[in-house]
């Protein structure tokens, strides 16, 4: 399998503080890779560099064979990287379907003049976008909530909507930042299954930051562990569970037993 995302010696310093220390990292096409580590290990910082929100201090990032290091976020999104946020960041004053339509922004072509003139081509594009948005909401389990204000959705549904909105950007690679944080066990189980469907039904590659070890061990092909900005381990979940350094740094014995139980 080809590698969709390749990060070479990526480094981020904030002032004198090294948040991410020369991390090498690859995500194979159609893989589900998890990034784990204690709070403050640099996982979200790493995400922010992959998506262009932060500039790297040094290192290179390639996506689908193209160098994307320090490209602006919208350019990286256009190339096929979608993401959700650790703290839900929906457009709260927009309806559910409008949130998804905004996600389609870079895939729609209608110019401002066309919008004003309401050309037939533009009308068709808008209609198609609307249908696709509805389909995405259905796929994400939000049927019949199209016109609800996004801030009125339940917590779990807001998470789903974030995914639907990220899917609307038509990503090849989807980055999910702690998607199950704050979900109850049932919602978490549903979500884990949903991530599997993203790959199996949509052919997506998924990179996951996650604290819930059940989710990580259940869904990932490979796990990378960060600690204090350094990569301390990488491998299939079964190996990571047994890795002494990981257990010491992060998991603790109880968590390992919990996950294997």
């Amino acid at each position: 399998m080809a590698d969709l995302l390749v990060a070479e010696a990526v480094r981020k310093e904030f002032g004198g503080l090294v948040a991410v220390n020369d991390v090498d990292f690859v995500v194979p096409e159609q893989g589900i890779v998890s990034l784990i580590g204690p709070n403050g290990a640099g996982k979200t910082t790493f995400f922010n560099m992959l998506t262009g929100v932060y500039k790297v201090t040094s290192g290179e990032i390639h996506f689908a064979g193209e160098r994307v290091t320090n490209k602006p976020p919208h350019a990286i999104t256009e190339r096929g990287v979608g993401r959700t946020f650790q703290n839900i960041r929906l457009f709260q004053q927009m309806s559910t379907i409008e949130n998804v339509l905004v996600g389609m922004h870079s895939r729609l072509k209608g110019g401002i003049l066309q919008s004003v003139l309401r050309t037939p081509k533009l009308r068709r594009e808008e209609r198609d976008a609307f249908d696709r948005a509805r389909e995405l909401l259905r796929f994400s389990g939000l049927r019949g909530r199209d016109n609800e204000l996004s801030s009125n959705l339940s917590y779990g549904d807001q998470r789903r909507l974030e995914v639907a909105r990220a899917l609307a950007t038509e990503p090849k690679l989807l980055l999910l930042d702690e998607p199950t944080a704050g979900m109850n066990p049932q919602e978490t189980a549903d979500f884990t299954a949903f991530v599997g469907r993203l790959r199996d039904e949509r052919g997506l590659t998924v990179l996951l930051i996650e604290h819930d070890m059940k989710v990580v061990m259940g869904v990932s092909d490979r796990v990378t562990v960060l600690d204090y900005g350094e990569k301390i381990a990488e491998g299939p979940p079964s190996e990571i569970q047994k890795n002494e350094r990981v257990i010491e740094a992060y998991l603790g014995k109880a968590a390992v037993e919990g996950a294997s139980a």
């Binding site: 998506t51 262009g52 929100v53 602006p72 976020p73 919208h74 999104t77 256009e78 979608g82 993401r83 946020f85 960041r89 929906l90 457009f91 709260q92 004053q93 927009m94 409008e98 339509l101 905004v102 996600g103 922004h105 870079s106 895939r107 729609l108 209608g110 401002i112 919008s115 004003v116 801030s151 909105r165 990220a166 609307a168 950007t169």
Partner: protein, 340 residues
């Protein structure tokens, strides 16, 4: 805010509102024709304010910044429009209708293009670098930009008023009894109302409007949706600028005279209108503009128990203070990422 007992402030507000209604009512009964005539004057003035207020509100909506230079961009583009009319086309009161129409059309395009270019440049040079700076830094820069633009106008046009002949006649289009609607008022209303409707529609429905709203709510998340945030902000400034340019020409045609500092007071009044309606809220800016226009003209034009023109500024800015103190989110509510 639902509360069991009405507050003292609420009661006072209600009392004042009642007073105003009684005052308007008595004036209407005493001289209904004059009342309606004054109403039209106020409506027209308000429409011009609304155009300028929309520029404040658009920019505030996306950057949470009061672009104090906006009023001066309005004035400078109006002055340049006067040059186009006088120096390029040499229009006079005797010019034929054809020449006047072409001259106005060209002046409108020049004013709009110039004002939007200027506005985009101001954002690019001044505000873009301060996007992550404390808000006060951007605000002070905005005041600085206001002085710069005003002094450019002063350097080009000196302190004298630039006057143009009355190109849109103030003869009546239709008269019912003693109530009359004049051509120049009709012209202003016929131009502003469609612009206001189109703008609201554009922001609400089109892809670019959605990008603007998304950017105003969460810049980082918008960028991750593939929205070019810088371009969206530039677009917003261009749009606000073109409204200022159109307002500049309309003001010139309707009032026939303006000078380098016309934008200062007009800007403050339009800003008051935007705050009155709820800053960031497009419909609010229109409502606020029209209300302020009406308040001014009723105050200056009605006969019975009227404070009169000497008090107009005190009343308008008194409203600004009252709104900021008692209802900071305006009549229709503020629309910003934080406010709901």
């Amino acid at each position: 805010m639902p509360s069991g007992r009405p507050s003292l402030v609420g009661l006072l507000g209600l009392f004042f509102l009642l007073l105003i209604i009684v005052w308007l009512g008595v004036n209407f009964v005493k001289d209904p024709q004059e009342f309606i005539n004054v109403f039209f004057v106020g409506l027209t003035r308000g429409a011009v304010y609304a155009l300028i207020a929309l520029g404040y509100t658009l920019v505030y909506g996306i950057l949470q910044l009061i672009n104090f230079a906006h009023g001066d961009v309005f004035a400078l583009s109006g002055l340049i429009a006067s040059s186009v009319l006088l120096s390029v086309f040499g229009v006079t009161t005797d010019s034929g209708a054809g020449l006047v129409i072409v001259a106005i059309a060209v002046a409108l395009i020049v004013a709009m293009v110039l004002a939007s270019t200027l506005n985009v440049t101001i954002e690019f040079v001044g505000y873009r670098r301060l996007r992550h700076a404390p808000r006060l830094a951007a605000l002070i820069t905005a005041i600085g930009m206001s002085f710069i633009v005003q002094n450019i106008a002063l350097a080009i046009y000196d302190v004298d008023y630039q006057s143009i002949p009355r190109l849109i006649p103030n003869s009546s289009v239709l008269t019912i009894g003693e109530v009359a609607l004049q051509w120049n008022k009709l012209f202003v209303l016929a131009l502003t109302i469609p612009v206001l409707l189109a703008l609201t529609w554009m922001v609400r429905e089109t892809r670019h409007g959605k990008a603007m709203r998304a950017t105003s709510q969460d810049r980082d998340a918008s960028a991750m949706m593939g929205i070019d945030v810088n371009r969206t902000i530039s677009f917003t400034f261009a749009l606000a600028g073109s409204l200022a340019g159109a307002a500049g020409l309309l003001f010139l045609l309707y009032f026939t005279t303006m000078r380098y500092d016309t934008g200062f007071e007009l800007g403050l009044i339009a800003f008051t209108a935007a705050v009155l309606g709820g800053i960031g809220n497009l419909t609010g800016a229109v409502l606020g503009g029209i209300l302020i226009g009406l308040i001014q003209e009723f105050n200056e034009g009605l006969a019975w128990a009227t404070p009169g023109g000497d008090w107009t500024r005190s009343i308008v800015f008194g409203i600004l203070i009252a709104i900021l103190v008692f209802r900071p989110s305006g009549l229709l509510g503020e629309q910003t990422p934080e406010g709901e």
